[in-house]
C-alpha cells in the first residue's frame, strides 16, 4: 500500500482531506471516505470501505480492479445511480451524496454521460431518437433536440446512419451512438463502464480513438475496465482492491511498475 500513495500528489491529498469543504472548481470529482455496504440476505458485504479520489477537469482516468474489488459499486456512486452509506461525493461543485432521487436524476441528466458495456440503446428507437433521449428528459423543445442530437452523432462520425435502428448497426457503431448519447448534454464527465467489453479488438481500438479525441477536446473521461491494455489508453489509472484505492498513478508510472513486478492483472 505504501508505494500506491507515491502516485498521489500532495495537492490531491489536500483536496480529499478537507472534509465538508466544497472543492475548488478545477476538481470535477472529489470523494471523501466513500463507503457502501449491501445486505445480502443477512450478511453485510462491504463493497467500498472508504474511497478517496480527486479528479481534475479534463483528466482521462481508468478505474481498474479485479472482480469484487468494488469498482462497479464505485462506478454506480460516481454515476449518481446509487448513494453512499457514508462519505462525501462532490460532483462539479455539488454535494451529490445527500441528494434525493429526483435531484440525482437531474444530476445524471446534466452532469453525466454514460457509456455501457452492452450499449443499452433502446432497440425500437432510431439512433437519432436514442441520442435525443437525455434531451427529452432535460425538457428541450423538439427542434433543438434534433439539432443537438445530429451534432453529437456528427462528432462520432455517425451522421449518415442516424435513422437506423440499433439492430441495423454494427457493435462499434452502436457504441458510437451510445457515446453520442452520452455527449449530447455536454456532461461534466463521460462515464464508461467496460466500453469495449462486447467489442472485438479492432473495434475496441476505434472506440478508444474516439475517447482519446474527446479527451483531447477537453472532455473529462472516467472509464471502468478490468483490461490493462484498455486502461493503458487513460492518462491516469486508479486500482481498487477490497473496496479501497490500492494505487492511483500516472499511466507511465503504472506501466513502469507493471514492468518491474512483471505481473499483469
Amino acid at each position: 500500500m505504501a508505494d500506491a500513495a507515491l502516485g498521489v500528489t500532495a495537492e490531491r491529498q489536500a483536496v480529499v482531506a478537507a472534509a465538508g469543504a466544497a472543492p475548488s472548481p478545477e476538481w470535477v470529482i472529489v470523494t471523501r471516505g466513500l463507503t457502501r455496504s449491501y445486505d445480502m440476505g443477512g450478511e453485510i458485504v462491504r463493497a467500498l470501505r472508504g474511497v478517496d479520489i480527486a479528479v481534475r477537469r479534463n483528466e482521462y482516468v481508468a478505474i481498474m480492479g479485479p472482480s469484487g474489488s468494488g469498482k462497479s459499486t464505485l462506478m454506480n456512486l460516481i454515476g449518481c445511480l446509487d448513494t453512499p452509506n457514508e462519505g462525501e461525493y462532490w460532483l462539479n461543485g455539488q454535494l451529490v451524496s445527500t441528494m434525493s432521487d429526483d435531484a440525482l436524476a437531474r444530476v445524471r441528466n446534466k452532469e453525466i454521460g454514460f457509456v455501457f458495456q452492452t450499449f443499452n440503446l433502446l432497440p425500437r428507437a432510431s439512433a437519432l431518437h436514442n441520442v435525443e433521449l437525455p434531451l427529452v428528459y432535460a425538457g428541450l423543445p423538439a427542434a433543438e433536440r434534433r439539432r443537438k442530437a445530429e451534432d453529437a452523432l456528427r462528432r462520432v462520425q455517425l451522421d449518415h446512419r442516424m435513422h437506423h435502428k440499433p439492430n441495423e448497426l454494427s457493435g462499434g457503431q452502436r457504441q458510437r451512438v451510445a457515446i453520442a448519447r452520452a455527449l449530447v448534454n455536454d456532461p461534466s464527465i463521460l462515464l464508461a463502464d467496460e466500453p469495449t467489453g462486447n467489442l472485438d479488438s479492432q473495434t475496441s481500438s476505434e472506440i478508444m480513438k474516439v475517447f482519446e479525441s474527446l479527451s483531447q477536446q477537453g472532455q473529462t473521461v472516467i472509464m471502468v475496465t478490468h483490461e490493462p491494455d484498455i486502461a493503458a489508453h487513460a492518462r491516469r489509472i486508479i486500482v481498487l482492491r477490497d473496496g479501497v484505492v490500492a494505487s492511483d498513478e500516472k499511466q507511465n508510472q503504472f506501466a513502469a511498475r507493471l514492468q518491474a513486478t512483471g505481473a499483469g492483472h
Binding site: 432521487d101 436524476a105 437531474r106 428528459y137
Partner: protein
C-alpha cells in the same frame, strides 16, 4: 417529458407489439362496443317512444278526461286502485259541458273501446279492439283513410251501421277481397265497411292495425260499456302547449263542478296527457340504461385487469429500458407518466375501436331486428372517457412499480 411525447411513445410501442396490444385492447373494446350498442338501442327506443308510439297512444297537445288513468306507471298501490274503482263514471252528459268550456281552436272527440269478437262470411270470428267515436276523432289521432272514406257527418249524427277497419283486421276478415262495401257483424248486428285506415305499423311485435271504428251512436257502443250512457274518454286537442294547460284547467273546473267537489277535495277523475305515457317510458329507460351500463362495466373491469397484467409484464420486460432511462435522467414522474400514458393510450385506442364496432353493431341491430337504434353522442364521449379512465386506473400500480425501480438493479437486469 411532455404528454404528446409520451403518447407518441405509447403509440410506437403499440405498433411494434401489435398482437399483444390487440389482446390488451380486447376487454375495453368489447366493453365499449356493448356500451355504445346498448345505449343506442335505449336511445333508439326512446326516440321511437317519444315520436311515434306515444303519439299513437295520445297525440301531441292532447289530453283525455277519464275516470282513471289508462296508463299506469309501475306498481300501483291497491288502495289507489280501490280509489279509482270508487270514482264516478264518465257519462255522455259530461261531454257537452266540457266541450263548451274549451277555448276556441281546440278539437274534441269522445270514444269508448273494448275488445270484441267480429265476424264476416269469409272468416271465423276474430277478436279486435272496437272503438265507438264521436267528434273529430280521426283528426286528433291523425288517422287517415287509405281506401274508401271517412264517416260522413250525418252517419256520425245518426249512428249509422258503418265501420272503418285497420289493415290487419281487413286481411283476417276479408282475405284476398276488397272489403269496402262488404258487411261484417258485431254482436249479431251488421255493419258496412266504408274505409280502411292507413297502416299504423307495430312496435315490439304488437300491431297497431288490429282495430275497427264505428260512429259513437251506432249500436255497438252498448257492448263497449255495460252501463248505459257511460263513455271511456273525452279527448281534447289544443293548438299549442299553453292552450293545452289552459284547456286542462277549464276541463278540471267543469268536471269538479259536475262532480260537486268542494275546494280541497282531490279530483275524482283523471286528466291524462302524453306526459303520463312518456313518464312510463322514462322510468323504463332508467332501468335499461342501468343495464346498458352494468353489462359493459363487466367488460371494462375485465379489460382493466388485462391491461394491468399486460402493463406489469411490460414493466418486467422493460426493466432494463427503465434503468437506461433513469440513467439518462428520467425522474420517477417521467417513468410513471410514460407507463400511465401508455396504459391510457392503449385503452383509449381500444375504446376507439369499440366505438366503431358498437356503431356497426347498432346499425346491424337496426337492420336485422325490429329494434330501432340511434347512437347517442354522449355515449361516445362516455366511452372515450371510460377508455382513458380504465387505462389510467389499471396503469397506476404497474407504473408506480416501474417508477420506483432502483436504477442500478434495473440496469443489471438481463
Amino acid at each position: 417529458m411532455g404528454i404528446l411525447e409520451a403518447v407518441r411513445l405509447a403509440l410506437a410501442t403499440l405498433v411494434t407489439q401489435k398482437l399483444k396490444s390487440a389482446f390488451t385492447l380486447l376487454g375495453v373494446c368489447i366493453g365499449v362496443m356493448f356500451l355504445i350498442a346498448v345505449v343506442s338501442i335505449v336511445e333508439g327506443m326512446g326516440r321511437y317512444m317519444e315520436r311515434d308510439l306515444v303519439g299513437k297512444l295520445i297525440g301531441v297537445n292532447v289530453f283525455e278526461v277519464r275516470r282513471a288513468p289508462s296508463i299506469n306507471i309501475g306498481d300501483v298501490d291497491p288502495a289507489v286502485w280501490e280509489e279509482y274503482r270508487r270514482r264516478p263514471r264518465l257519462f255522455e252528459d259530461d261531454v257537452a259541458p266540457v266541450v263548451e268550456a274549451m277555448p276556441a281552436g281546440t278539437r274534441w272527440s269522445v270514444y269508448s273501446a273494448d275488445v270484441l269478437s267480429v265476424d264476416s262470411r269469409y272468416s271465423r270470428p276474430r277478436r279486435t279492439t272496437v272503438y265507438a267515436v264521436d267528434g273529430e276523432y280521426f283528426e286528433i289521432r291523425n288517422l287517415g283513410v287509405a281506401r274508401g272514406r271517412r264517416f260522413a257527418p250525418q252517419e256520425i249524427t245518426n249512428g249509422d251501421n258503418v265501420i272503418i277497419l285497420g289493415v290487419d283486421l281487413v286481411e283476417r276478415l276479408f282475405p284476398g277481397l276488397d272489403p269496402v262495401g262488404r258487411t261484417l257483424r258485431i254482436g249479431g248486428v251488421p255493419y258496412t265497411v266504408v274505409g280502411i285506415a292507413e297502416p299504423q305499423g307495430s312496435a315490439f311485435g304488437i300491431s297497431f292495425d288490429n282495430f275497427a271504428i264505428a260512429p259513437y251512436r251506432a249500436p255497438v257502443h252498448r257492448l263497449l260499456n255495460r252501463q248505459p250512457r257511460v263513455i271511456d274518454a273525452i279527448q281534447v286537442q289544443a293548438m299549442n302547449e299553453t292552450q293545452l294547460t289552459e284547456a286542462m284547467e277549464l276541463a278540471r273546473t267543469v268536471m269538479r263542478t259536475r262532480h260537486k267537489l268542494r275546494p280541497g277535495q282531490p279530483d275524482n277523475f283523471s286528466l291524462q296527457t302524453n306526459d303520463t305515457a312518456l313518464e312510463f317510458w322514462n322510468r323504463l329507460k332508467g332501468y335499461l340504461v342501468l343495464a346498458g351500463i352494468a353489462l359493459p362495466a363487466i367488460g371494462l373491469v375485465v379489460g382493466a385487469i388485462v391491461i394491468m397484467n399486460i402493463m406489469l409484464v411490460a414493466v418486467a420486460e422493460r426493466t432494463r429500458e427503465i434503468g437506461v432511462r433513469k440513467a439518462l435522467g428520467a425522474r420517477r414522474r417521467d417513468i410513471l407518466s410514460q407507463f400511465l400514458v401508455e396504459a391510457a393510450t392503449l385503452s383509449t385506442v381500444g375504446a376507439g375501436i369499440g366505438i366503431g364496432l358498437g356503431y356497426a353493431l347498432a346499425q346491424a341491430i337496426a337492420a336485422f331486428t325490429p329494434l330501432p337504434t340511434s347512437v347517442a353522442p354522449w355515449s361516445v364521449a362516455v366511452a372515450v372517457a371510460l377508455g382513458a379512465g380504465v387505462g389510467v386506473v389499471s396503469g397506476v400500480y404497474p407504473a408506480s412499480r416501474a417508477a420506483r425501480l432502483d436504477p442500478v438493479a434495473a440496469l443489471r437486469q438481463e
